[in-house]
């Protein structure tokens, strides 16, 4: 396994508010990493910096040895919390869009997943339910053969059956040599798939390590560790 992400002394401020403070991490390829923390801890800020939506106030970030830019955007597959597909499009339009801009997009995989969900590619995005829109977005993201997948709260606000579907889709469709970073505060559901864990609070790194090592060292599950670390 090689180093995929290098984060050195990363800070991000919004005016006087510090969202990330001197964060330093090295993340390897081929891992499923849980980015855990309470609301407002800096998880989304870190993910947005990694996918190029925010620039750091200070510090340095590289992905696969490259500065954040168009080259890293080509190898990063990002699932935001929001629905981003333009409402005027049909499902097949967004498939065409992804196929045009991402060389690693596997259209056959996407179409297969859509057909299993019984979503017709001719359907207009604005007629889909909220849950189905989120599933279409997830399918688009996981149908890419990317080096880094950034999933921001993929299971928040969905029913338990949908959560299982989302987690199964993640596990069965990603490139095993790639890294997945899943940001969430719903630990119980994703603990089973995590290799590594990052816990941050108020922009500071609190815990970082292998999930198995943390469980044996602390003698508790990651969910229990989370509750202890972030006890109010």
């Amino acid at each position: 396994m090689s180093e995929l992400i290098q984060i050195s002394d990363l800070s991000k401020s919004y005016g006087k508010k510090e969202a990330l403070s001197s964060l330093s991490l090295t993340l390897e390829s081929g891992k499923v990493i849980g980015l855990l923390g309470p609301n407002g801890s800096g998880k989304t800020t870190l993910i947005k910096i990694l996918c190029g939506l925010l620039t750091p106030t200070s510090g340095h970030v590289t992905i696969d040895g490259k500065e954040i830019g168009t080259e890293t955007k080509a190898i990063v597959s990002y699932l935001p919390e929001r629905t981003y597909i333009p409402k005027w499009m049909k499902v097949k339009d967004i498939l065409d869009y992804f196929e045009d801009f991402y060389k690693d997009f596997r259209r056959s995989v996407a179409e297969d997943m859509l057909s299993r969900l019984k979503i017709d590619p001719g359907t207009k995005i604005k007629t889909l339910s909220k849950g189905n829109k989120e599933k279409v977005q997830l399918i688009l993201v996981m149908s890419r053969d990317a080096k880094l997948y950034l999933l921001d709260e993929p299971i928040a606000g969905v029913d338990p059956a949908a959560r299982d579907y989302i987690l199964d889709t993640i596990v069965t469709n990603y490139n095993p040599d790639a890294t997945i970073i899943i940001s969430t505060h719903l630990i119980q559901d994703i603990e089973r798939i995590l290799d590594d864990v990052i816990m941050i609070q108020y922009g500071h790194l609190k815990v970082f390590g292998s999930a198995d090592a943390l469980r044996s060292e602390k003698g508790m599950s990651i969910d229990q560790l989370f509750r202890e670390v972030f006890r109010c």
């Binding site: 190029g52 939506l53 080259e71 955007k73 990002y78 981003y84 333009p86 869009y97 045009d100 801009f101």
Partner: protein, 256 residues
């Protein structure tokens, strides 16, 4: 990547504006049909409900056609800025800004698509006018052609006039993009900020254009040279606006 961006812009424009252009041409056709029966209207008994309905219908069609003729080209410009704002600074920005595409390519694609759609709207308006005017269409076409090819206005002046028109169009579009980008940076009073900055920008350009004209007149420069100076000033404004927009997209994106 610019080609692909432009392709998807054109797909959006065809899906969005084709129905509007078709409706406009149909309205022109209806105007033409109504004008064919103009003589019969004079013999109508205007107290009958059928006649009133027909007159009201003709009036509505005429008003709709007139309004669309006046604003069709303007609508393309407004939609272009609206689309830039939605693509870059709303939820769609999570898709657009994570594409492996530079900010310059995004701006260029939107601008090029806007120019193509603007020219298409002008062609549709002319086609509508030809359809509505019917038998007078050939003489209208001849008149427009003679105005374009006339020797009374030198070719250089026509080209400079086109250049000025192009620079004004690009300046207005880029100003719209810049105001959207600046609005993205604040969390409240976006509309007020955009309106205020837009208003003062227009005033600034008008004052500078007047000063340039006064200067060139004092230096005994020709009208063509004055317009070229104004075009150069607009070019500098466009470059400044472009650099600001790119800087905001790269470093100050504020997607909620």
């Amino acid at each position: 990547m610019l080609g692909k961006l432009l392709k998807h812009e054109m797909i959006y424009l065809i899906k969005t504006f084709s129905p509007l252009y078709i409706v406009y041409l149909i309205l022109a056709g209806v105007i033409r049909l109504l004008s064919l029966f103009e003589n019969q209207f004079e013999d109508l008994d205007t107290s009958s409900s059928g006649a009133i309905t027909l007159i009201v219908f003709a009036g509505i069609i005429g008003v709709a056609y007139g309004i669309l003729t006046g604003i069709l080209a303007l609508l393309t410009m407004i939609d272009n800025v609206r689309r830039f704002k939605n693509n870059m600074f709303t939820d769609e920005g999570y898709l657009t800004n994570t594409l492996p595409v530079t900010a310059t390519e995004h701006i260029a694609a939107k601008l090029l698509a806007g120019i193509i759609n603007y020219l298409a709207s002008v062609v549709v308006i002319l086609a509508g006018l030809f359809i509505a005017s019917g038998e007078e269409a050939p003489s209208m076409a001849k008149g427009i052609w003679e105005a374009i090819t006339s020797d009374s206005i030198p070719l250089s002046q026509k080209l400079i006039g086109l250049l000025l028109g192009f620079m004004i169009y690009v300046s207005i579009q880029l100003l719209g993009y810049l105001l959207s980008a600046l609005g993205n940076m604040v969390n409240s009073c976006k509309g007020l900020l955009s309106f205020g900055l837009g208003f003062f920008s227009v005033i600034f350009v008008m004052i500078m254009s007047a000063r340039i004209t006064a200067f060139t007149t004092s230096q005994s420069l020709s009208g063509e040279q004055t317009i070229l100076c104004i075009c150069a000033f607009l070019l500098v404004c466009c470059i400044c606006m472009y650099l600001l927009i790119v800087n905001i997209i790269k470093k100050h994106l504020n997607l909620q």
